[in-house]
Homo-oligomer: 314 residues x 2
């Protein structure tokens, strides 16, 4: 369930005018920007961006980027984009950062097969390369096969389950990933090509056979990039909300905050399942996600995140 | 340029009625079927199939399959389908045959990135699996990486060329494929992820550097499946019409005929570039493709192929 609260009716032209008032001249009225854009659905934001361009002959995102900066700007710019385009930007940033494989695995594994295709199409339009091309040219060996396989995947989306396959492939995953003694290429083939429904059956069969999940105690200090990417893949397919809850928890744990992770999860999930992720977060941490975000961030960035989190009393 | 001759105007309902007369009762009027379906464009055939289903509560293809058989039935059934669905059927047949990797490479490499996606979508609908899943589970090692990479590819479709990349990647292809002494995974990465425009620049650079094409004298009696698949990949990307001309030539060469190859090329290219392929065929063989098809095949199957080849005087 979404956390975002958006009105059923809005006027994109009025919104565009208010936004222009908020950015024009000296200074910027960040509160108005948050009040409007932090309370509009994806299709409403696209209408506003179009109306703004028509009325003022400039791109709303570019204007915002010239007026504000830092984490607030990054969150707001991402937020305005429609999902496929945003995922393409997120994937490209992860590639440019290098070694940020968790994010590549995440966008390729959490989204539906059609959403992954839409991201690849948006990636072409923006970067004049294919996503798999950029991922492949930065990686090698098993890690390349896993990441390229995931971003290129177009999984079957039906609900059929093959029980005997679930058993035999749970064994293959066990030998390769847990025992580190099997055919890793076969494990990668399974994770990159089987339908999510079939993979869930395989993960369930694994728990039945071994009394524990395949990801339990899989990582340690010495884990390499491949092991971490395999771990993320299985978690993203197995239970995306649980995965996101943990990303948020780790991003705000201890000293310092990983704003990129906080922004990414809140911006990408606010219209999908962020309300459930908040509930999960409360169950795991006995504290409200909103309160923890308020402790770890500040200013307009914080106010914007709280709007996306659906906080009413702003 | 297409070889097919189709009328600008036709009545799908009248066509459906004529077809029903041709298949009803004892015996079948093959000539009428050929006269109608062998002269209709893809969208016209879809309209006819729909009109037939509405009028007679049965699927035209199923009815045809129950009335006729052999190569004529196979060609006609393929022909009625729209392209993405037909490519899915062709790919699935190649997978079921096993070792028919040339056909898998062909459908993945000749078609545009969007057409490959459409084929994958059609494959889901028909077979309740993903195409890459079925290809991957039948293959291993480099051959798997090449074939899965090709069927999963969504290449960038723009015209930008990176000249220095063309040079460095021509060297990688040379070492791996021609010298059999380089990094095969890198060669596969290049062939599966680079845009076709970039790959053409790379193949041209190769010729400039080595005075010969990369596929020249690449295969011999001892060539394995991987080498054959690499050879087909490069030829399909480099010059699909030249590739198809050779498939037809080999299919009809010497004793016996490979009807599957003849059917596939004629049915899949009749609406695209079969006229050019015919011209190429004449230039290479000093004989007409139509005449050679007439020598190698017979009966209704022949008459149908000739209709698709655009022969007027039937």
């Amino acid at each position: 369930m979404a956390s975002l609260i958006a009105p059923l009716n809005h006027s994109p032209h009025e919104d565009a005018e208010y936004l222009q008032k908020a950015v024009k001249g000296w200074g910027t009225d960040e509160n108005s920007i948050i009040t409007i854009l932090g309370r509009r659905s994806c299709s409403q934001r696209q209408e506003i961006r179009k109306a703004y361009e028509q009325k003022f002959q400039e791109d709303l995102i570019q204007r915002i980027q010239s007026e504000i900066s830092g984490d607030f700007e990054r969150a707001l710019s991402r937020w305005i984009l429609e999902a496929a385009d945003r995922n393409a930007v997120i994937a490209n940033e992860a590639i440019k950062k290098g070694k940020d494989y968790q994010v590549i695995v995440e966008v390729a594994s959490v989204n539906s097969p059609e959403q992954v295709l839409a991201m690849r199409r948006a990636y072409h339009n923006r970067y004049k390369h294919s996503l798999e091309e950029d991922v492949a040219s930065q990686t090698s060996s098993h890690l390349r096969h896993l990441l390229v396989g995931l971003v290129s995947s177009y999984r079957y989306d039906g609900n059929e389950i093959n029980e005997s396959l679930a058993k035999s492939e749970a064994d293959i995953l066990h030998e390769a990933i847990k025992n580190k003694n099997g055919d890793m290429e076969e494990a990668i083939r399974i994770l990159c090509t089987r339908s999510k429904t079939q993979l869930l059956a395989t993960f369930n069969k694994y728990r039945e056979l071994h009394g524990t999940s395949i990801t339990k105690k899989l990582l340690n200090e010495a884990s390499n990039d491949l092991e971490k990417a395999l771990h993320t893949t299985i978690r993203c397919i197995n239970d995306p909300m649980k995965y996101y809850e943990k990303v948020l928890r780790k991003a705000m744990l201890g000293m310092g905050t990983d704003e990129d992770d906080v922004t990414r999860v809140i911006v990408t999930r606010a219209e999908i399942d962020l309300k459930h992720i908040k509930d999960l977060y409360y169950n795991k941490n006995s504290s409200n996600l909103d309160d923890d975000v308020a402790k770890e961030t500040s200013g307009d960035y914080l106010n914007f995140l709280l709007a996306l989190l659906g906080k009413q009393d702003q």
